[in-house]
């Protein structure tokens, strides 16, 4: 064939060494996570802007509602409404940023980068897990950063609070980030993702006990609030923050099932379980070939 004359001899054609796919996938989890953190860190404005909404809630919504409740809130626990609401707003911040963090998957799909990830010789589960962990980390930072506001709310912080809070913030962030990744894996367009998310996220937020105690509610609402996974993530955060601040009666405002206050570990376990199940859904969704 006449080609041979035109083609130069192959100089140093390198034979790719066989690659351990499992190790490659673990490395991929790391680099996918790392990329998300890098982008988050680079986008300082997002970091600043994301503090605006919780502040608005605390200052405007919190102060307004406190004044109209007068001293009626707290049923003799000595907890003011703003103190009650503050850990809820930390939870809200985690909830919103965990779920919106997953939007980067839809962005990546829209702008082509997801293709670079999906054609790589790695297992697809690595993509789902890397993304879920990236969302978890960002959401945790978004939530814990609000601890700087504690002195203004009349909440005392201790090292113990922070140490106990980190794993609790992590399970809440993980549960909701996995939820976001699972939804994002099914969505082809940004608009679709935003519509579905607003449809799911706002009820999740309102029913989670971030803004009001989940006791003495109408029966239908009691059922809905207990079905909201975020309830099991926000309640332990509140109990840890307020109890360590010297407000020991916080448990009486806590999440109950059949009148029993749930142990914090059980709540965290439920949240973690939710995250694992949703992450499994996300993995299955990613493994379907487009």
């Amino acid at each position: 064939m006449s080609v041979e004359s035109a083609v130069r001899p192959v100089a140093d054609s390198v034979q790719a060494a066989p690659v351990d796919t499992r190790m490659a996938s673990l490395r991929a989890v790391y680099i996918i996570w790392y990329r998300d953190i890098l982008r988050y860190w680079r986008d300082r404005w997002r970091l600043v802007a994301s503090l605006a909404q919780p502040l608005l809630f605390l200052v405007v919504f919190g102060s307004g509602l406190s004044s109209s409740l007068g001293g009626a809130f707290g049923r003799g626990t000595g907890i003011s409404y703003i103190q009650f609401m503050y850990p809820g707003i930390i939870g809200m911040s985690i909830l919103f940023s965990a779920i919106f963090g997953a939007m980067s998957i839809v962005w990546d799909r829209e702008f082509g980068f997801l293709k670079e990830v999906l054609v790589a010789p790695i297992d697809r589960w690595a993509v789902a897990i890397g993304k879920a962990l990236g969302g978890t980390t960002q959401a945790m930072i978004q939530g814990l950063i609000l601890l700087v506001l504690a002195p203004f709310i009349g909440v005392k912080l201790s090292l113990l609070t922070v140490v106990e809070l980190i794993p609790l913030a992590a399970v809440l962030a993980f549960g909701l980030a996995s939820f976001g990744v699972a939804i994002a894996s099914m969505m082809k367009s940004l608009q679709g993702f935003q519509v579905v998310m607003n449809f799911l996220m706002m009820p999740m937020f309102f029913l989670s006990g971030a803004l009001f105690p989940l006791t003495n509610l109408p029966a239908w609402m009691t059922v809905l609030t207990r079905a909201d996974p975020a309830s099991y993530g926000i309640d332990p955060i509140r109990r840890v923050v307020l109890a360590n601040s010297g407000l020991p009666h916080v448990d009486s405002l806590g999440l109950t099932i059949n009148g029993q206050v749930l142990p914090i570990l059980l709540e965290a376990g439920i949240m973690l379980g939710f995250g694992v199940v949703l992450l499994a859904v996300a993995v299955v969704m990613f493994q379907r070939r487009d």
Binding site: R8, A120, P121
Partner: protein, 328 residues
């Protein structure tokens, strides 16, 4: 033939009743630049996607780097580099970060990562922009970065789907210079699709694809030899009369496109003076040239490949990405 790096036999892809690829056979030799040429919708992208394991063939067999694309897609992907038609960079990351990401997911050994990234940046002349975010890059720089990325894990074959789409002619030329350099230095086999006829000239061999089938396959010169001699075109206010006269007086059949008549003749230099002497119909312009691959395509399919087919879609795409880019 033994030693082919890409082999396909009877490759078919159907979507329901729609046949995108209707049975393709080809072999690509190591170190070759192989061009896949045809209009949009001819099945180029579908074929390249099957070879790259992104699509599963409906029928047929394909082996890339000696590995069956259906049986072990991950092994194939480890051995090929991909440059997609649409951009696939993270433009919030720097050039180096994009390459590092790729090095990780393609298991480039840790001690080699930095060296290989530096080397590819150097080859693609991006060293001085390595730490700039990709969103500040021009279209040509992004393409070069994508080529650098595709080569980072030292693939045996580099697949490029319309690598020069939407770039200006100068940038297209520089991309080609870089691809040639890569082939020379790295010995990589290059398989690319294009609808730009002039680009196909850079290839060692070309397959002209139309309606899901290979219409012709050979070196650019072999293909051009399929068109007899020279191509003469005239424009005339009375093209019908002119065509009739050319047929009657000169014994040549001209094909007509509006006011333009086009004919293939053995010896153009001798034909043009005769044409001017004999014709009584008004002639506005006469031109003569060596056959191009456009002429080959026209001869094989009876149609011209037109750039306009894609331009509208490109414009939309460019506009969309500008608009979205601002919101990011």
């Amino acid at each position: 033939m033994a030693g082919a790096v890409i082999e396909a036999q009877g490759l078919v892809k159907k979507y329901g009743d729609l046949v995108a690829v209707a049975g393709i056979d080809l072999e690509v030799q190591p170190g070759e630049i192989f061009g896949f040429l045809g209009p949009n919708g001819a099945g180029k992208s579908t074929t390249i996607s099957m070879l790259c394991t992104l699509l599963t063939p409906t029928a047929g067999v394909a082996r890339v780097a000696g590995i069956d694309v259906v049986r072990d897609p991950a092994a194939v992907r480890q051995r090929i580099g991909l440059v997609f038609q649409d951009p696939s960079l993270d433009d919030q990351l720097t050039a180096r970060e994009n390459l590092e990401f790729h090095a990780f997911v393609y298991s480039v050994p840790a001690p080699d990562r930095r060296r290989r990234i530096d080397e590819m940046l150097e080859m693609m002349q991006l060293t001085d922009r390595a730490s700039s975010q990709v969103r500040t890059f021009s279209g040509g720089m992004k393409r070069r970065l994508e080529i650098a990325r595709g080569m980072l894990h030292q693939p045996q074959i580099l697949f490029l789907d319309e690598p020069t789409l939407g770039l200006d002619p100068q940038t297209r030329k520089s991309i080609w210079t870089h691809l040639n350099e890569l082939r020379g230095k790295k010995g990589v086999t290059i398989f690319m699709t294009t609808h730009y006829m002039d680009e196909a000239e850079y290839c060692n061999r070309i397959a002209i694809i139309d309606q899901g089938k290979i219409a012709a396959l050979g070196t650019p010169d072999e293909l051009k030899a399929m068109v007899g001699g020279d191509v003469v075109t005239i424009t005339s206010a009375e093209p019908d009369d002119a065509a009739r006269e050319i047929q009657q007086l000169l014994g040549v059949t001209a094909s007509r496109d509006d006011g333009t008549l086009r004919m293939e003749v053995k010896d153009g230099k001798a034909f043009v003076p005769r044409l001017v002497r004999e014709l009584t119909a008004p002639v506005d312009t006469v031109s003569m040239r060596r056959p191009s691959l456009d002429d080959v395509f026209l001869k094989l399919t009876g149609r011209a490949i037109r750039d306009e087919e894609v331009s509208a879609r490109d414009r939309n795409r460019a506009m969309a990405s500008r608009w979205m880019g601002r919101r990011r």
